[in-house]
Amino acid sequence: MGFFSVLGDIYQILKHTFRQVFMRPFTYFFPFEDRIYPERTRGRHIHVRKNCTACAQCVRACPVVAIRIDKEDKMYEKDAALYFDYTRCIFCGLCVEACRFDALFHTPVVDLSEGDRDDLVYGPDKITTLDRDPLEWRGRRFR
């Protein structure tokens, strides 16, 4: 290996390094920044009680028994309350696929961590609302 080939190697390495320096960072400063998730992202669910017919197909479709239905709890004429247990859910999308009445959807909200295990069971009040806009760019970029 001659002197010039070593220089050439060094040039290659520096070229690569400089290109990376001026590129946008690949990582996010997570709790403050978030990226925009694709439309089909299978995050936490949202339950539209107005359309629900209490058919319980979502409950039957769920492979890990993460959904509990309470047919007594009615808000409209024939709907039901759903309880989602996010300690069990594997975000497979089968419940959303099973619902034929446009009453159950995934949202792009994927950061569900809670301090308390019980908070991960989303009752009817929590599962029917979004506490924040999922596509919102939260905070500012730190770099």
Partner: protein
């Protein structure tokens, strides 16, 4: 070997805590720097997948399979879907066939990209660990855009696929393939041109075809010996589109030791596998016809299956992945399912392959066979 030397033998557990030993543990008996006995132990990653399958209905079952090996999720879930399709006699629309095949090849690419990173990181060659992982992100972006999930895709379903290609997905796929194709020669240069890497892998973990077949190896570890054994060509699945494009089974023949393969050949084989996958995807993408992506009656038909037995297999990234499924009449769940992962063979091959090698070469041999714990702990 005299008995005195064996008196000084030392037993070392490689794993399950070791960083590159995610869920496996191998007992090595060492004399000095050399391994004299290797005892692979399965069971540290056991999730009773076969038993779980007996409690899941036929639309849920593929979710269990894809969690067996998340690196090749599209490929891993397919044998179950294919077995159900066989028993229920479902027709798969043309578009779904091609989409499945494209995504399975993307999955193979992703798995190989991941393996490069992992294997090279284990060897301490971090440039080639991080470069393929950048490209892997592009593959994952396409998966996420298509299915909504990066790893647990749940894409194939009895009778077709769940999500249709959108323009954005096609764009992402195109981008991932183009970028990877551009960078592949660079990767090859970096990897195969590295004298350190060559010295580290040449002649390490060498076995003959005969040995390999005796151990039950399949996929890249056998193709690296120069045997064109590939299910995609040998037994084309009617529900996949491998016969709609023109490609050759990738094999590696080393003139230095014909009919044998070492760790270096197996790396070369992975490059060829990646090239073939790119070739297949590029041919299939323009052939995508319009039409439905799932047989409309499939859902009702897959609810209850007639009595039957089916055996389905697919050429996975690591070898032949297959599943045997038995159902009883009007069954909602499987009576019995038996999974055959490719890696159980390559893991237990270490028993014969490793003794005689240096301790430091153990991870080279292990990594070059690319075993994934999910496949042997079922």
């Amino acid at each position: 070997m005299s008995p005195d030397i064996l008196d000084e033998a030392m037993e070392i557990w490689f794993g399950p805590q070791h960083v590159s030993a995610h869920g496996w543990a191998t007992k090595l008996t060492l004399v000095g720097d050399y391994v004299v006995e290797c005892d692979p132990n399965a069971g540290y990653f056991h999730r009773s997948a076969e038993k779980v399958l007996e409690y899941k209905n036929f639309r849920q079952g593929s979710l269990v399979l894809e969690r067996m090996c998340m690196l090749e999720a599209f490929l891993a879930e397919y044998p179950y879907v294919a077995a159900v399709e066989k028993i229920a006699e479902l027709e798969v629309p043309e578009r779904a066939k091609i989409m499945r095949t494209i995504m399975m090849e993307m999955s193979r690419l992703h798995s190989i990209q991941f393996w490069w990173g992992q294997f090279n990181a284990e060897l301490g060659f971090f440039t080639m660990a991080l470069w393929p992982w950048v490209d892997r992100e592009y593959s994952l972006d396409a998966f996420e855009e298509l299915t909504g999930s990066r790893h647990t895709v749940s894409y194939s379903t009895p009778g077709g696929v769940k999500y249709d290609f959108t323009d954005k997905v096609l764009k992402q796929l195109d981008r991932a393939i183009k970028r990877f194709e551009d960078r592949l020669p660079k990767f090859r240069d970096m990897q195969m041109g590295s004298p350190t890497f060559r010295a580290r892998t040449k002649g390490i973990g060498q076995y003959t075809v005969k040995q390999g077949l005796k151990w039950g190896l399949s996929g890249p570890p056998i193709k690296a010996c120069g045997v064109p054994m590939d299910l995609r060509k040998d037994a084309p699945d009617p529900n996949l589109a491998y016969n709609m494009c023109d490609w050759e089974v990738p094999i590696t023949e080393n003139p230095d030791h014909p009919g044998e393969s070492d760790a270096l050949d197996r790396m070369e084989q992975r490059f060829k596998e990646a090239e073939t996958s790119v070739q297949i995807i590029k041919q299939l993408l323009p052939q995508l016809p319009e039409g439905p992506i799932i047989d409309p009656k499939a859902r009702a038909k897959a609810n209850r299956l007639p009595e039957g037995e089916a055996y389905a297999r697919v050429e996975g990234t690591r070898g032949i992945t297959s599943l045997w499924l038995k159902t009883q009449d009007k069954a909602q769940t499987a009576y019995r399912a038996k999974i055959r992962g490719p890696c159980i063979a390559s893991y237990y091959a270490l028993k014969d392959l490793v003794p005689g090698a240096k301790f430091a070469d153990f991870i080279v041999i292990f990594g070059s066979l690319d075993p994934y714990p999910g496949w042997w702990d079922r």
